[in-house]
């Protein structure tokens, strides 16, 4: 085979990549099945199961009653029997009605059993705002799920990552929460930015959890982020390059485990850290990342900024939603801030 034949140029949207890995695992392993609301005929409100019903039928692509405690809890139970369920919470915001199954059962059974029980469950959920769906349908809640010990937490930002991380999630013997950002899926009615649609290998492959991806190398400032904001940070980095500011953009890809090593190394190089996410500012991801860098190497930190949702619920009206969800301009401003302060 010639070199050029090896270059992968088949581009997929994030949703197609996700679905491809799920289908692959379902073909390989009869014990993998998918449960959720509107995942069968509808194919997932955010295209997370598009086309799977046709191939796998209703026994394996299961519509379920609007009973999140029952079906998420049933997924926990089936997983403890050794099956490999994937259960979808349509919007992460609906976690509340099934919180006990997630926080007290799914996350803790392995530990409480001294490792004698394991829960190979993938819990998928759509996250994020930017389309004016207001306070009960726009959250990411990254910090809420990263906080409790016992859940691995995946947040893909590209089709390539979505596929490789999903393969790892389904094969992992531990519970994995897989949060996909609606704005990145490539849904017809919610246009994605440039970026999430990437070349994707046809073969299956696994991306290890806890390996952040340096999406752009830079010498002046480390911007650490995930999900939608990877693309906003890259856009900011492009504009800042024109001002002579060289930004490094790190995509965490998973929050649990967190690749502190890559972050610290980058900050040692740049001395300046800007952490960006789409979750509430206080007691969350941005604070955690700053703290873990400080723990490891306080001296490396010359200047720090956090860009996150100020501590208010997500408002409905466009001017207010735009105000609270960080955009590229907000990132640029914070980068300039750390550059000018040190």
């Amino acid at each position: 085979m010639s070199e050029t034949n090896d270059v992968i140029d088949r581009e997929l949207t994030m949703s197609r990549a996700m679905v491809e890995s799920i289908a692959h695992e379902m073909r390989d392993n009869e014990e993998v099945f998918y449960m959720g609301e509107d995942v069968a005929d509808y194919g997932g409100i955010f295209d997370s199961t598009q086309g799977l019903l046709d191939e796998f039928g209703r026994d394996r692509i299961m519509d379920v009653p609007i009973s999140e405690t029952a079906y998420l809890g049933a997924a926990v139970g089936a997983a403890q029997e050794g099956m490999r369920p994937i259960a979808e919470l349509m919007f992460v915001d609906f976690f509340g009605v099934a919180m006990d199954q997630i926080y007290n059962q799914l996350a803790k059974n392995t530990y409480m059993s001294g490792g004698n029980v394991n829960v190979p469950l993938v819990l998928t959920a759509a996250v994020g705002g930017t389309y004016n769906d207001a306070a009960q349908h726009s959250q990411t809640l990254y910090g809420t799920f990263a906080h409790v010990p016992g859940l691995k937490l995946v947040v893909p930002s590209t089709a390539y990552d979505a596929k490789g991380l999903m393969h790892n999630a389904i094969r992992d013997d531990d519970p994995v929460m897989y949060l996909f950002h609606k704005r990145l899926m490539g849904i017809g009615w919610m246009p994605a930015p440039d970026g999430p649609k990437t070349p994707v290998p046809e073969t299956d492959y696994t991306i290890p959890f806890g390996s952040a991806d340096i999406k752009r190398e830079g010498a002046d400032v480390s911007v650490v982020t995930l999900g939608l904001h990877v693309h906003r940070a890259l856009a900011a980095a492009e504009s800042l390059a024109a001002e002579g500011i060289d930004v490094e953009v790190i995509d965490l890809r998973t929050l649990v485990p967190l690749d502190t090593e890559t972050i610290v190394e980058s900050v040692r190089k740049t001395g300046r850290l800007v952490v960006v996410d789409e979750d509430y500012r206080s007691f969350g991801v941005t604070g955690e990342i700053v703290a873990s860098v400080a723990d490891r190497d306080l001296g490396a930190l010359d200047a720090v900024e956090r860009v996150a949702v100020p501590d208010v619920p997500i408002p409905y009206a466009r001017p207010m939603e735009d105000e609270v969800i960080p955009d590229a301009a907000d990132i640029e401003e914070s980068v300039r801030e750390v550059v000018s302060s040190k």
């Binding site: 519509d63 009605v97 919610m190 408002p315 409905y316």
Partner: protein
């Protein structure tokens, strides 16, 4: 016998609610053409319209007083209209304007009008516990007001609903749970996800009456609700009431409805509760002119509300930071009193 005047009032609200949804659909789709982009246009975000479900809302709410509480789910407009929510400010909220019911913070799934004790929530069945709570407050205060929780047939599998039935029953609360059965929960037909055909059968397990009105006939709903709400007002406890309604539109605007057969959609369109109540009025001698002028009135009301809403200013971006709390973060005080407290002695 329901009085002709009452039927006229219900008819007026049904026309208003229907025209409202049709007009919102137009406004919503404006700016989302040719390619549908959910975040574009004068009304962004999700929009769940209730055309075809008016009979349930008016038949129940026309028994209610402003002090009675109503909670509605994600599909709230028809219920809000029947409960007497300020149409202009509700419309301004849906358009995300500063003078909206929630100053543009809530949007169409999160409408609150404390003047008539109306609220709604976008999380399935989560209006049920607060309705029980409003009923609890009425009972504790010895008032004769009641509470009503509206929910879809898809919501009857939710813990919040089932727990509320038991809570209301065991405390004998003045609350009525109203299931609007439109046969669908987004793409899931009820027979696929719920084992009972009639949601009202759930009542038996909670020792309360369960009543089903099998057709979306506003007058029949009004009669059934008279009993249920009367029971609540007379302190005889909760009722579970179910009404067959029809979903004339998609689950939300932009729903391709590829999961739905043409037959099902046509059947829903053919059974029009507005035609039904119209013929009822004709039986009472209301003539074409009269009906036409009622239609005009309803349309005018809707057009005025929409025109008013669209004239209202957008909120300022900075308004986003207000209203998280009503008191200062420190609570009701900024000062802590000083006391002389005895040393706590661990040995004693």
């Amino acid at each position: 016998m329901v009085s002709p005047d009452r039927i006229r009032e219900m008819y007026g609200d049904m026309l208003t609610a229907r025209h409202y949804e049709e007009r919102l659909q137009e406004e919503y789709l404006e700016g989302k053409q040719p390619a549908f982009d959910i975040s574009a246009g004068p009304i962004p975000g999700e929009l769940h319209l209730a055309a075809g479900q008016e009979a349930a809302a008016v038949g129940v709410c026309h028994h209610l007083r402003p002090e009675d509480t109503v909670t509605a789910p994600h599909r709230p407009h028809h219920v809000a209209i029947a409960k007497g929510v300020d149409l202009k400010r509700m419309t301004a909220e849906i358009f995300g304007r500063e003078s909206g019911l929630g100053k543009g913070k809530g949007g169409h799934m999160h409408l609150f009008d404390p003047d008539v004790n109306f609220a709604c929530s976008g999380i399935i069945a989560e209006g049920c516990p607060p309705a029980a709570g409003a009923a609890l407050a009425a009972k504790k205060r010895n008032e004769d007001s009641v509470a009503v929780a509206f929910l879809g047939e898809g919501a009857i599998d939710q813990g919040a609903f089932l727990e509320s039935l038991n809570f209301a029953s065991v405390h004998n609360l003045p609350v009525v749970f109203v299931i609007e059965d439109n046969d669908w929960a987004i793409s899931m037909p009820k027979e696929r996800v719920t084992d009972v055909e009639d949601g009202s059968d759930r009542a038996a397990g909670f020792d309360m009456p369960g009543v089903r009105v099998d057709q979306d006939d506003a007058v029949a709903v009004y009669e059934a609700a008279a009993e249920a709400i009367g029971r609540a007002r007379d302190r005889n406890g909760p009722t579970l009431l179910e009404v067959q309604v029809h979903r004339r539109m998609g689950h939300f605007m932009g729903d391709p409805q590829t999961y739905r057969s043409d037959d099902d959609e046509e059947a829903a369109l053919a059974r029009d509760s507005i035609d039904r109540i119209e013929s009822e009025l004709r039986d009472h001698g209301v003539d074409d002119d009269d009906l036409a002028s009622m239609r005009d009135d309803a349309e005018t009301r809707v057009e005025e509300a929409i025109a008013w809403a669209k004239e209202q200013p957008q909120p300022d971006p900075e308004d986003a930071y207000d209203d998280v709390f009503v008191n200062p973060p420190s609570g009701v005080t900024t000062e802590e009193p000083e006391f002389e407290l005895a040393e706590v002695n661990a040995d004693e």
